[in-house]
């Protein structure tokens, strides 16, 4: 998935200072973390960046089209899911609108040996990792606990306890290093270099577990890339409540590098993440990336942004829409014409239709399945309760359904509402 970039020698310079480590010596500065890396301006024109530009030298029209296609599909899926939630088909939906470049650009930078830990809004990342869109929705329909198998996709399940997945990512990365150490000691061939990419939000950055993750990652030189999507809001709380300064500046305080990137610029995100993943894979990690972006939609389908933010802020960011910018790049830089977009639209319409049907196809598992997965090994209490549950459910069948008073809960509780 990651083409080897034409790197200039200084890009691969080991961080001597960091290697000699110890108190007092480290290469990163807060200042360097304040610049925002950008390879496209707001009108979709390429701009220069001598450090990160080389990391996307291989990018051609096909690559940009493919990035655009992924972003476009993600947006359309997002719109469809928002609609489905309104129709009561989905329990809750956190829209990604506005964050497509940050997600697709970064997900493209990792490969089959790498492992990805999403938070809960990374739908475009999940699609990039090969999970079928309809399957992805079973969790949000309330039909299953998780929608894909980490063992198959090398992509962890969504984590709703904010920040909780970040130490897992670091531990997984420590495991990658341990694999290499064990192989080396056993005189075996080295496993392929691999890195971990973990996503979290500006709000989640405040959680203590994220900090401990940084400490552990630095302490064990873990090959992990911390990817913060700073979408300016944590539900109704603006970023200024979480921090006075960009989050990328945090990295220096742990002795590793933090880079701030324009999260609505897919090329810059791709370049910076490729660089970071290479740093991590090659043992110079961890690295932190802060992608400056914006949640154009509501926090979730249960949210109402008009309560807490001004439309002029939304409008300002709407002009920086990553899809518009990438479309402009395709138009102006690569001369891609309207036919391409028309075809893409048609193709996507068909895909959405099919996906929608797939989503609506399934129903919830039976609760009995939960008794199978709470423990991996046999457990007497679970067995006892499973048996009880089965007998109890069966009693309705044998006694006749009219025996059940189910549903009379809400009836008798005349005044109860539902969240």
């Amino acid at each position: 998935m990651t083409p080897t970039p034409n790197t200039s020698p200084q890009l691969l310079d080991p961080h001597d200072a960091r290697a000699t480590a110890g108190t007092g010596a480290h290469p990163a500065t807060v200042e360097s973390a304040l610049d925002v890396v950008r390879l496209l301006d707001e009108n979709g024109q390429r701009c220069e960046n001598s450090r990160f530009g080389p990391w996307v030298e291989d990018v051609d029209v096909q690559t940009v089209q493919s990035l655009y296609r992924s972003m476009f599909r993600a947006r359309r899926l997002d719109e469809m899911c928002t609609a489905l939630q309104r129709q009561g088909q989905i329990v809750l939906w956190p829209p990604l609108r506005g964050q497509e470049a940050a997600q697709v650009g970064s997900a493209r930078a990792v490969g089959e040996h790498d492992y990805v830990f999403p938070s809960y809004r990374e739908h475009a990342v999940i699609l990039e990792r090969g999970v079928p869109a309809d399957q992805m929705m079973t969790q949000f329909r309330g039909h299953a606990a998780s929608s894909w198998k980490p063992s198959e996709t090398k992509t962890h399940i969504y984590s709703l306890v904010l920040g909780s997945q970040v130490p897992h990512a670091v531990g997984y990365a420590m495991g990658i290093t341990q694999d290499a150490t064990l192989a080396q000691l056993a005189g075996e061939s080295q496993p392929p270099e691999a890195a971990v990419l973990v996503y979290y939000g500006d709000g989640a950055s405040t959680e203590g577990e994220v900090h401990e993750s940084m400490v552990f990652a630095a302490s064990y030189d873990a090959p992990v890339v911390f990817f913060v999507q700073n979408n300016q809001w944590a539900i109704s709380v603006p970023f200024s409540t979480q921090s006075r300064v960009p989050l990328a500046t945090r990295a220096a305080g742990y002795g590793f590098e933090g880079v701030r990137v324009d999260g609505n610029d897919p090329l810059a995100v791709l370049a910076v993440t490729r660089w970071a993943v290479a740093e991590a894979r090659e043992g110079r990690g961890p690295v932190m990336i802060e992608a400056e972006t914006f949640r154009l939609g509501a926090h979730t389908t249960a949210d109402d942004p008009t309560k807490y933010r001004r439309t002029d802020e939304e409008q300002r960011w709407a002009t920086r829409d990553p899809l518009l910018r990438t479309k402009a790049l395709l138009n102006h830089e690569y001369g891609v014409d309207q036919d391409y977009f028309t075809d893409l639209e048609a193709e996507t319409d068909a895909w959405i239709k099919e996906t929608r049907a797939g989503i609506l196809d399934g129903g919830p598992q039976d609760l009995e399945q939960r008794f199978d997965v709470v423990y991996a090994a046999q457990h007497p209490l679970v067995e006892e309760e499973r048996q009880w549950y089965r007998d109890y459910q069966d009693s309705f069948l044998t006694d006749g359904a009219d025996q059940s008073l189910a549903g009379s809960d809400d009836h008798s509780v005349t005044e109860a509402g539902r969240a």
Partner: protein, 334 residues
């Protein structure tokens, strides 16, 4: 604020609104009261319980905090040391755990650790319980995890009247209180008497329906279900007394004991898993206190020993009318 006009002495409203009015009154009565939590300001909280309060009392008294539960509870403890009475909101029950250290080792123990010198009158509001059709970690019932820790008090109102009064009583308690809100009943409507609380002491149980053959004890979201169970049992010729526990720590065992000594049978129902749940403490103590009165072992009904399941299965997980009635029948079968 004219809802607070004392000339209107009762009000018919939802539990959500009653909580809002209760906090409004606490903020009005005592300048040392302040609210802290994620999204409680402009948004009014994800359940809108604090709606309008930031506008009326200012951002210094209704604080949108950074996103860290340990930070919320930990700084609330510090503010309490400075003489304030912070009321923290944890957004959902499942997100209490990042603050568990602050709650268990600090908030609960500060008064004892300081030999009584440092009271920490902090109230922690937690929307609690399930059947709201949501995603994971949004439907937990963590009461037993707090009850075992000395130093905390825990309550859960089940009516707008109790919500209005108990939130005020807990805010003025000199001890820290975990204030559980039955989130699926936020829109339950009822009368609120603006002049008189149900009880002066919020840490007591209430008999909410009298009966003489079985005591059904529960709290929070299951109280209306228990009332329906008693009604269904009555149609079957069985007389069930319903006790709304209200206070989960301390537990008003005197009221429970008196009831069971009359009825001879008890069922405890809660949403949390049965194993290690608060029902165990109630069953064990009532069995000890009423050994010769009990005609059947105390029957417990609650969640299974499973993480709270996905929304599509939750109605089979949380005890409903049928399952509680089944437990009632088991008790009568002895």
């Amino acid at each position: 604020m004219n809802q607070l006009d004392d000339s209107e002495s009762t009000l018919r409203t939802t539990m959500a609104k009653a909580l809002n009015l209760g906090m409004r009154r606490a903020l009005t009565d005592d300048p040392k009261v302040l609210l802290m939590g994620e999204d409680i300001g402009s948004l009014g909280g994800v359940y809108r319980i604090t709606e309008g309060l930031k506008g009326d009392f200012g951002a210094h008294r209704v604080r949108d905090t950074p996103l860290g539960e340990a930070g919320i509870v930990g700084t609330a403890v510090g503010m309490a040391m400075r003489g304030y009475r912070p009321v923290c909101e944890i957004q959902f029950d499942g997100f209490t755990f990042p603050a568990f250290n602050q709650i268990t080792t600090q908030l609960a123990k500060m008064h004892a650790r300081s030999d009584g010198d440092v009271p920490v009158p902090v109230t922690i509001r937690i929307p609690s319980g399930g059947v709201i059709g949501s995603v994971e970690h949004h439907s937990e019932s963590p009461e037993a995890l707090f009850a075992h820790t000395a130093g905390l008090r825990i309550v859960m109102p089940s009516t707008p009247q109790d919500a209005y009064w108990m939130i005020q009583q807990c805010i003025s308690s000199p001890d820290p209180v975990i204030f559980l809100e039955p989130k699926r009943r936020y829109w339950l409507k009822g009368e609120v008497d603006l002049l008189r609380p149900t009880t002066e002491d919020p840490f007591t149980a209430q008999v909410v329906r009298e009966g003489d053959q079985l005591t059904l004890v529960t709290w929070g979201p299951l109280v209306p279900v228990a009332m329906a169970v008693a009604e269904a049992a009555a149609q079957d010729g069985k007389s069930v007394e319903v006790v709304d526990l209200r206070s989960l720590s301390p537990i008003d065992f005197d009221t429970l004991e008196a009831s069971v000594n009359r009825t001879g049978r008890m069922v405890v129902a809660h949403e949390a898993p049965v194993f290690g749940g608060l029902g165990a403490e109630i069953a064990a103590r009532i069995t000890d206190r009423c050994f010769y009165s009990l005609e059947a072992p105390v029957q417990r009904v609650g969640g299974y020993h499973l993480p709270y399941p996905p929304a599509g299965m939750e109605e089979n997980y949380v005890p409903d009318l049928d399952r509680i009635l089944d437990a009632v029948e088991r008790a009568f079968a002895y």
